[in-house]
Amino acid sequence: MERNKTKEQTSKEKATPKKQESQTGQRQAEAPMEHTAQSMEVNGLNAYYGGFKAITDIGMKIAPNKVTALIGPSGCGKSTFIRTLNRMHEVARGGRVEGEVLLDGEDIYGKNVDPVQVRRKIGMVFQKPNPFPTMTIYDNVVAGLKLQKRHKKGELDDIVEGSLRQSALWDEVKNKLNDSGMSLSGGQQQRLCIARTLAVEPEVILLDEPASALDPMSTMKIEDAMLELKKRYTIVIVTHNMQQASRASDYTGFFFIEDMGEPGQLWEFAETEKIFTRPERKETEDYVTGRFG
């Protein structure tokens, strides 16, 4: 673990270069903007709810510092799949997974692996904004950090500002950090949830239809934030919105179920441009051109 984990935001307004402890305990004088995030790889993945098989035999390579979009009709297993990527699937009653998911070559379903560590490395933003209602905006952002080790107040302040800037929320909330998280609009709440995820410095960020409950303006803001974020993180996003996928992603996976009750499959996976312009399979073409779904 000799990587320099330095994703600290350097704010242009504030010229003071922020310092941050790397995992080896050294301090970096200057924090570079960019960071090579870790890649993921999925092999032969099946997921179940009790006896029901929700997705079958998924294989996929998730490139580092890219946005990978997952699209497909409802009920085809996209959300189930993204939840298997940080072991959230098993939180649901009866949730069970077969196959392997590698983070930087290490199977997150390996024998000695702790799901807590997995989720710290692979953060998740959910469909519905879910800030902690009893916490302030500030406390929401540092909620994950406070779990780990003691941070100095100044350190926390820097991280809060950095995370909120990255999620493009800072300017809107900088004067009311002690208000309740619930006082924000839906779009702001969702960006608060993104900031909360960024604050623990994951390698990968999973976004499960983050804009589905939001208005177009908020959706735009989140997309813009995503383009910035991929400089530091590997991003996987489930979306219903075809424009969003084609605009913001580098790779696209199309999920499909052949029949009701069948498990969902990864029907086609390629560069986004290829999926949207010359897909190989007919169903993909039908879907991206809006002929169904």
Partner: protein, 324 residues
């Protein structure tokens, strides 16, 4: 006024339409619904009314007098209020962690089947009649405490004010322990409902930040459910305050202020139940009624607060018995 009510309910319209059955049906339903209100008020009135001679005799000072002398016909309530509050609070404090722990086990840990079985067993705990707990408490738990718990408990806590003196089987402490068992199902069942009402996305949000299950529970679930859990505890407190038979059997019914929980005491309910049959003389009986009125007001206010708290946080219909 009656006609105003009738028009409010569209009764006349229904009658005009020849819809006689529905009008009667509606009247009956309203009657029995409002009967709930009426009976509650009537109980309160009756207790107070029968307590009037005692009020005439002792005035408001009844509340803070510790006198209880049937021979001199002097009565007060303070030591019984003390007994009621002390036993209720001790049992609530003990039942709180255990009951919330059980609720947490059921909601966050246990798989479906274990959940159902344990839920059923906890409900059985609530089904056992108070008087059976009393019998068990006095003949089994009290001797058990004296033999196995007292020898090491007294040296540890004996120096703390309120825990001094010799341990008696019949004691405030033993009564509080039995009360703890009796209110445990209330705490567990309502806490479980409240915890279950915490949205899943709150749990997932905390887990996705890399929390352990305990951190998820303590930092996301409990803050969210706090109001409802406090409501559950308040409800249990009210139940403990009004509980009669087990306490009457176990607490020793010493009609004086006690200075140690290992001493004997009495609660409002226990003094009424324990002295009722030999109460002679108008003022004596009347004093017991007045004590009943005090107890009624006490438990009613605790319950109102509890229900308001639970209502604010719990979703779905709450079972008045707090059952599973």
């Amino acid at each position: 006024m009656l006609s105003a009510l009738a028009s409010r309910l569209n009764l006349l319209k229904q009658l005009r339409q020849g819809n006689f059955g529905d009008a009667v049906f509606k009247i009956l339903a309203y009657f029995f619904g409002l009967f709930l209100l009426f009976i509650t008020l009537f109980i309160m009135y009756q207790l107070l009314f029968q307590g009037v001679p005692a009020i005439r005799e002792f005035g408001i000072g009844f509340l803070w007098s510790t006198e209880f002398d049937p021979v001199q016909q002097q009565f007060g309530a303070l030591q019984f209020i003390q007994g009621t509050l002390v036993t209720a609070f001790i049992s609530m404090l003990l039942a709180a962690p255990i009951g919330i722990g059980i609720a947490a086990f059921l909601v966050e840990i246990a798989p479906e089947r274990v959940n159902r079985i344990v839920g059923f067993l906890v409900e059985m705990l609530a089904a056992i009649p108070s008087v059976v707990y009393g019998l068990w408490g006095i003949f089994v738990l009290a001797p058990f405490l004296r033999t196995y718990v007292e020898p090491w408990l007294i040296p540890v806590v004996g120096w703390i004010p309120g825990f001094e003196g010799p341990f008696r089987g019949y004691s405030v402490f033993t009564a509080s322990l039995v009360l703890t068992i009796m209110i445990l199902p209330t705490v567990a069942a309502i806490s479980r409902n409240v915890l279950q009402a915490v949205p899943r996305d709150q749990r997932e949000a905390m887990l996705a930040l890399g929390s352990t299950r305990w951190e998820m529970f303590s930092k996301a679930v409990m803050p969210y459910a706090k109001g409802g859990v406090i409501g559950a505890l308040a409800l249990a407190l009210g139940r403990a305050a009004g509980e009669t038979m087990a306490v009457t059997i176990i607490i020793g019914n010493a009609r004086r202020v006690f200075t140690s929980v290992f001493d004997q005491g009495a609660t409002i309910a226990s003094v009424i139940a324990g002295n009722f049959t030999d109460a002679s003389g108008g003022v004596y009986i009347s004093s017991l009624f007045l004590l009943g009125f005090v107890l009624f007001i006490l438990t009613l206010s605790i319950n109102v607060v509890a229900r308001l708290l639970i209502r604010a946080t719990s979703t779905g219909p709450t079972n008045p018995t707090g059952g599973f």
